[in-house]
Symmetry: C2
Subunit: 333 residues, 2 copies
């Protein structure tokens, strides 16, 4: 369909090119140059309307998030972003939609000096597949298999906001609940997650770091590290850092001062990094992160068991499901 070809004009890089793009959009393939001392890190993520983001999400937010979640995969490997390609399917050849989508995508790409090297628009149900490319020294990569029993477990930033934001969107839709500042903060974290590229790059300065980005939920994602490293883990729930907004939200709730740990540990979409660090490096790491003003919190420890155990403030073991809130249906799994 010819109009879809016209749309491809929106994929031409808006600003700076990169020297390592030898041939960009407009031929059968892009031709790219990878630094000889680096491995190429690649990842693919598909976002489908109604599955990975609620129907009705603004095109700018979709454009931002489609790139952010892919950048987050590079961050979790400690890779430096370089290029991306973008396959969009759209019900109709809606130029305005693509323009708005790129208004979310382009500034984030520019922030990380990332160049779009391929784009394809086809007619279909709204869905976006981004392929992302970065560079990392293979020996320094933050592989999931790098953890050992005794390593300490950390997360960047705070957890739970995006999950609360999703609840807010779905509840506002269902029960016609007004969206206040608290919920607006949470919805913003759902739609505009910050990929932890800087944190990932800093971690490659250390050794034997195993990392993952929290896209599906802390526990289910941590489980991937445990499986790859053949370790278990202990998590201290009360150490999990919450944003002031979310902590305030839980304090105001009738009855309970206690946060909803299940919602927090099983909610995805925060895109913080969860990683393990051998104890001897922790002081060094904290110094580096403090200097860069990136918040880190120790929340647990890798063990030699084969399970993930969660304890509350009183030291009582809590049975929380090791599943994630992976899809935007109205039912949690």
């Amino acid at each position: 369909v010819a109009e879809f070809d016209l749309i491809n004009q929106y994929f031409k890089p808006p600003c700076s090119a990169r020297n390592d793009v030898l041939l960009g959009i407009g031929d059968d393939c892009a031709l790219l140059s990878v630094p000889p001392d680096k491995a190429l890190a690649v990842s693919t993520d598909t976002l489908i309307s109604g599955v990975h983001f609620p129907h009705g999400t603004m095109p700018e937010d979709i454009g931002y998030k489609a790139l952010a979640v892919n950048l987050s995969d590079l961050a979790a490997m400690g890779a430096e972003p370089a290029w991306a390609s973008l396959a969009i399917s759209l019900p109709t050849a809606d130029k305005r939609w693509v323009e708005q989508f790129m208004q979310g995508f382009n500034p984030l790409a520019a922030q990380y000096n990332l160049v779009l090297v391929g784009g394809d628009t086809t007619q279909g149900v709204l869905s976006i597949t981004v392929n992302i490319y970065g560079f990392v020294n293979e020996k320094k990569a933050l592989k999931r298999s790098n953890a050992s029993a005794g390593d300490l477990i950390f997360i960047t930033g705070t957890l739970g906001d995006a999950g609360a934001g999703l609840d807010a969107v779905l509840n506002a839709e269902r029960y016609n609940i007004p969206v206040d500042d608290t919920l607006r903060h949470c919805i913003n974290r759902l739609n505009r997650p910050e990929p932890r590229i800087r944190a990932g790059l800093l971690l490659t300065q250390l050794s034997q770091i195993a990392a993952i980005d929290i896209s599906d939920g802390l526990l289910v994602d941590l489980k991937h590290i445990c499986e790859a490293s053949q370790t278990g883990a202990i998590i201290h729930l009360d150490k999990i850092p919450l944003s002031d907004t979310l902590a305030g939200h839980y304090q105001k709730r009738p009855g309970g001062q206690q946060p909803d740990w299940q919602a927090i540990t099983c909610a995805g979409d925060d895109y913080e990094l969860c990683f393990s660090c051998p104890e001897y490096q922790v002081d060094e790491m904290n110094k580096v992160f403090e200097a860069q003003d990136i918040s880190l919190t120790q929340i647990g420890k890798m063990t030699s068991s084969n399970k993930i155990e969660c304890f509350d403030k009183a030291g009582i073991r809590q049975n929380l499901p090791l599943t994630g809130y992976t899809h935007f249906t109205h039912e949690k799994q």
Copy 2:
């Protein structure tokens, strides 16, 4: 949705790994090693049911074709295949479908020593996005901008079968026409195009070759070369090679012995290469291709005009549309 995770097991490479896959499926990113003297060639193609292949196409055929059309993009650049990643969206977590899909995908991957380095299955309308990676010496790449006025225009193989196959599928559906051996041959070319990887690699031994794969139609694809090279072209329709099957089909038609040039030059999906070659290299090229038993036919010449002109056997100019049969709707564009 948890069942979709289970499906990802089908993406583990069935056979030989490659030394340049430093870390395969199962982490946040794959880690890959590109030869230091080569450029990385990448391309993305999305196939949507009812748009890029008729509804009802067998999963094996979809699996084959999804990879073949991407390999074809590497062929058109003269690149050697290395890796692919695969994003599938499926209405339901249908393991049998994915298994059959991979039965079409895997043998073709093995044939080209290609390894799957990323896979993602999500819930949605049936659609497949393949990202493909290969290597090419940048100076030898078959860029669309390499053509000059006076270069001769060639195609590999024969044209028109896939287009006739598509007509057959759609007509059989609409008018309940029985599928005979002729149509079966054409449908097979529609579903199982042979990517011209070997031809592309041979062409990189020559200089200043501009190539494209015929996915949308000879004329519309040739136009991309002309635009990138700022040339025009003359095509001699009677030189366009047809398969014996298709030639026989036209001879049997009531009234006309003349092939339907519009159908042949505007039909896509044959995935033959169309390329230009400077005249001084043609003898050398013919020898190389003959030795490798790959059929080549000269069908025209690049000109310094800004148009593509087609002439029939009698030397009469034919006005054929420079558009392609790009989508599987029942109407041609």
